[in-house]
Amino acid sequence: MKDLVQLAWRGLKQKRKLTLLMVLNLAIGITLLLTMGTIVTRSGHSPIDERADRIYHVSLNFMDPDYENRSPFSVPPLTYTDAQSLYTDWANHNSVRLSLNYTTSFVIDLPDRSVRPVTAEASAADTGYFDLLQVPFIYGEPWRADMDNTAVIVLDKKANDLLFGGENSVGQQVVINNRQLEVVGVMDMSAYLRRFQNMRFRGRINDMAVVPLGYAHANNIARTGYMPCRTKDEPLRSRYRRDDVQGLKSAECGYLHAWAEFVPHNQEQSHAELTLWLRNYAEQQVTLGRFGHAEPFYLSQLATLNDRMSDNLYWEQIYLKFAYLLFAICLINTIGILLAKNQSRARLVSLYRALGANKLYILKIQLLELSMLSGAAIVLGLLLAQFGLVAMFHLALYQADYLADAEQVRRMYSMDIPFALQAAMGIFIAIFTAGLYPIIKASRTAPAAQLRG
């Protein structure tokens, strides 16, 4: 094997400029493919991908008949009334786990004001939120189900780093809206590149804290997310966001996101049951004169939403298609260069044959040579893709507004190692397959004709 490697290495060194051209040619194609592939892959996936096919967003359409639902991501959140009905009937279901949340933001301070306050994007949620996201905890744990009205909070690692220098803050107090809350856990949301829990799927920022939903309602913690209202309640929307939580509870304004997770063995039946319930409930609301929209409910699968999210990356998808095209061109180009190189090396192959190398041995040398060449191109492509991702990150940050969290955006443009390895393997197979023709052709060179003169 050592001798084969030695001969393959000598082969690479022959016509060095052509070898270099092939490596660069492939590396450019690989760079673009990996850069755009990584961005699109990371954009459309989350750490709970394996459960994404049995997690559904539940929406009941209380909006006016002329309400235009422009995308799967703009389905109306639930009103308080509808959320209560859903929760009452489904919270204790054996095969369905339900979780409600609304989007909020607040300033987190310490009681002694010893550190700079942190402006946090956050969620008010029931404790099922943590089960839904399966978010890892660094310290502590989620609050218990019976603590929904208690003044407790779960901080994200980022907020904990800013407020407590990364120390274990469980049991410590923080201040929100002049009220003290006890930290019960510190979670790490860093793997969640998109904030899907409020259906926005934005990649620029995620929850830095979560407070109990009951406590948030009781203490009127503001509602800052998407909050469509029926025309009659539209003028009061600003009030409902900040001041009038009691009024909001009876208003036709949607702000609560409901997620249902079906247990695996009973998924289809649970889906059918929930669909039936939604249909019956919507019909009931129609008879009560509340609902009038042609699409009375939506049950959106997270996996489908993830796919739609990837599809929605319009320019990135176009760039990815171009990257595939360019890689194909680079591959064809490489075959051309390889053919040219082999043509100029026909004499060498013939000499090897005359000196006693059989066709299989020649084939082995050249396959090894191609493997080394592909390996070099892939390594170079990976390195350049890393630079490409950094460049795309800076571009994305430049385009983002001041609210964007640089760290969150950076993660979106970071190398996805499993994807990179898979892609590298695929690329290697593609190069190897494409390179077979020139190699087989070279191994069949008739030696006698080349050695004359």
Partner: protein, 231 residues
């Protein structure tokens, strides 16, 4: 050690068939030095390539060291070439990117010898051709005669029983040609069978036995006939 019976070789194109060799019968005994002469296009190189197992033939049988080569596959033919035959080409066919050591090492790698065994053989063969101590030089740093001596060293390193030389002095001036011929004669004296193709009848005179190829047909000629051809 070599026996050809009724060997024929035909080159075919869409328009024409060329009979390069017709019904060739040829035998070589151990230790012989045979010169094959003939005008251009007479079939000398084809004969040498078939002898060296680089080309196949249409008809006849060919035994090398008791093995019927017409029944052998590529792997066995390559092994025979590597172990029993050494080639010396008119154009030297050295690999310009490799130094002398690496050039000579190539056929030994194909044979699967250990690095240590290869080293000894390379050094010995370089010594034999008078180029000991120049192993790290590259072909471009040598004269034509020296390059041909490296090619001879490469052929000898495999310790072949049979040396095939195709116009070995064709690219050399008279002085260098004489030196190379002296070396080949010396190698032959030490027991290696030598078959040399040449268009130079004066060089052919140095062989023990002379063969002439005309229109694809072989015939033995004696020294007197050769002298007549020269004059």
């Amino acid at each position: 050690m070599l026996r050809m019976k009724n060997i024929s070789k035909i080159y075919r194109t869409e328009l024409v068939e060329t009979h390069a060799l017709s019904d060739v019968n040829f035998t070589v005994e151990e230790g012989e030095f045979i010169a094959v002469t003939g005008p251009s296009g007479s079939g000398k190189t084809t004969f040498l390539n078939i002898t060296g197992l680089l080309e196949s033939f249409e008809q006849g049988s060919y035994e090398l060291d008791g093995e019927d080569v017409s029944t052998l596959g590529d792997k066995q033919l390559s092994r025979l070439r590597n172990e029993k035959i050494g080639f010396i080409f008119q154009g030297f066919n050295l690999i310009s990117d490799l130094n002398l050591y690496d050039n000579i090492e190539v056929p030994l790698i194909f044979r699967g010898l250990s690095a240590q065994a290869r080293k000894k053989r390379i050094e010995d063969s370089l010594e034999l051709v008078g180029l000991g101590g120049r192993a790290s030089h590259f072909p471009a740093q040598l004269s034509g005669g020296q390059q041909q001596r490296v090619a001879i060293a490469r052929a000898l390193a495999g310790q072949p029983r049979f040396l095939l030389a195709d116009e070995p002095t064709g690219n050399l001036d008279t002085m260098m040609a004489r030196q190379v011929m002296d070396l080949l004669e010396e190698i032959n004296r030490q027991g290696t069978t030598l078959l040399m193709v040449t268009h130079d009848n004066e060089l052919a005179q140095r062989a023990h036995r002379n063969i002439q190829i005309l229109d694809g047909q072989l015939r033995d000629i004696n020294k007197n006939e050769l002298v007549e051809l020269i004059s």
